[in-house]
Symmetry: C2
Subunit: 242 residues, 2 copies
């Protein structure tokens, strides 16, 4: 299930209800802290580190097999680079898909929260790309960045950087810059709708990559995107006078 | 502001609060009906037809200039093909951006609601494309479909068809089929989390385009997407054993 950006004000009643009704709540440590303590009270909770995703989902499946209502939490939308797929993959592999009842609860994804804080950058076609090459060959990622840049998609970059992955963002920005003007607006959002939220609008040529870390999501405008006042806006059509 | 899929169970508390506090609520007729009647009681409401978007936003700006708290509603996420951009564009054009205080309230987008009902098709990079060529030249749309298909993005198609626009979907599916196997899973979702919800998983070669209408959103898998039981799942990595 999806926690949305993290602020309880953006948690759908359905998601809140699921958390309330679950006997077991499983999640990555940092995301568990987004849940109101009162909701967790009296429940079994399983918190693991970020890279223990498979173990975490296996534990959740064990709990479900014991007949316990179990919620696996993701921040943002569990259906976008979240845990929903892994749970289903593991169930399929263990031939348990028919046996365990799974419901995916959608939430407000990070890309929507970031877009809202920036203005309206996603009014036109966009491509969503994770720059993490831990599970995907860099050649695949690279070809997607290239394709999206060339076809004038607004580009949303997830996982732009981590402590160990630093050159991927440089390379991606280089590739995009071959197809877009240096004046193209770029929005950076960190911790959308959470404590320590940071929002910044800059341009491709002025982007300071040292401001980007693993908690940042980047939105690169297309050829039509403009900075209007303090907002980043992609007009909804091409050459249309509103 | 964003209504999410329509079911009040998926309306964020923040969005509900904004509706409650607004004195004027402006929206497309069909979407206004998604709002609980009790919330609208005693408020000024402005409902217009689907194509009256500019007029609708201008009326909302007039109300805001009169000092009234005004909410412009979109279904799904107002930031994805919604009203957020048009409001900001019109304010910019009228040089009112600094004068009128605008907040974009994100919501659960149609793509997230549809993905959740299908399983987990958006676990990997995806491209979101509207097939409506009312405001965008078909050549631009075509080049994006082609680029997304070639670079193995999962593809989300908004506005696949209307009564007057029927050939665009045929052409898009043709282009995608040049790069993907006929066995590629395709998910169709109509009225996600609303009355008359319909969810269907098929394949590129078996897609019955007569099942698609303007309320349908299509998700076309990438080369890794599989049908698992009754779910459509894109694994989170390439060639990775979970």
């Amino acid at each position: 299930m999806s926690l949305g950006p993290g602020d309880p004000d953006y948690l759908a009643p359905r998601a809140k209800g699921v958390l309330k009704d679950a006997s077991v709540i499983v999640g990555y440590r940092t995301y568990m802290q987004l849940i109101e303590p009162a909701v967790l009270e009296g429940k079994e909770t399983i918190e693991t580190g970020m890279t223990d995703e498979i173990q975490r989902c296996q534990l959740a499946i064990e709990k479900a097999l014991e007949g316990k209502d179990t919620a696996v939490v993701s921040s943002g939308d569990a259906g976008i680079y979240g845990m929903a797929g892994l749970v289903l993959q593991l169930l399929e592999e263990r031939k348990l898909l028919g046996e365990v009842n799974v419901e995916v609860i959608p939430g407000i994804p990070a890309l929507s929260a970031a877009a809202a804080l920036l203005g309206a950058p996603l009014m036109h076609d966009f491509a969503v790309i994770s720059l993490s090459d831990l599970l995907t060959p860099w050649e695949v990622i690279q070809s997607r960045v290239e394709a999206a840049a060339k076809a004038d998609f607004v580009i949303v970059l997830y996982n732009p950087k981590s402590k160990k992955r630093t050159w991927q963002l440089d390379r991606a920005i280089e590739m995009i810059s071959e197809h877009r003007s240096g004046e193209t607006p770029v929005g950076l959002v960190r911790n959308a709708m959470r404590e320590a939220q940071a929002v910044r609008i800059t341009t491709l040529s002025h982007l300071d990559k040292s401001e980007v870390d693993m908690l940042t999501i980047l939105l690169v405008g297309n050829s039509q995107t403009q900075i209007m006042g303090e907002k980043m806006v992609t007009p909804r059509g091409y050459n249309i006078k509103v």
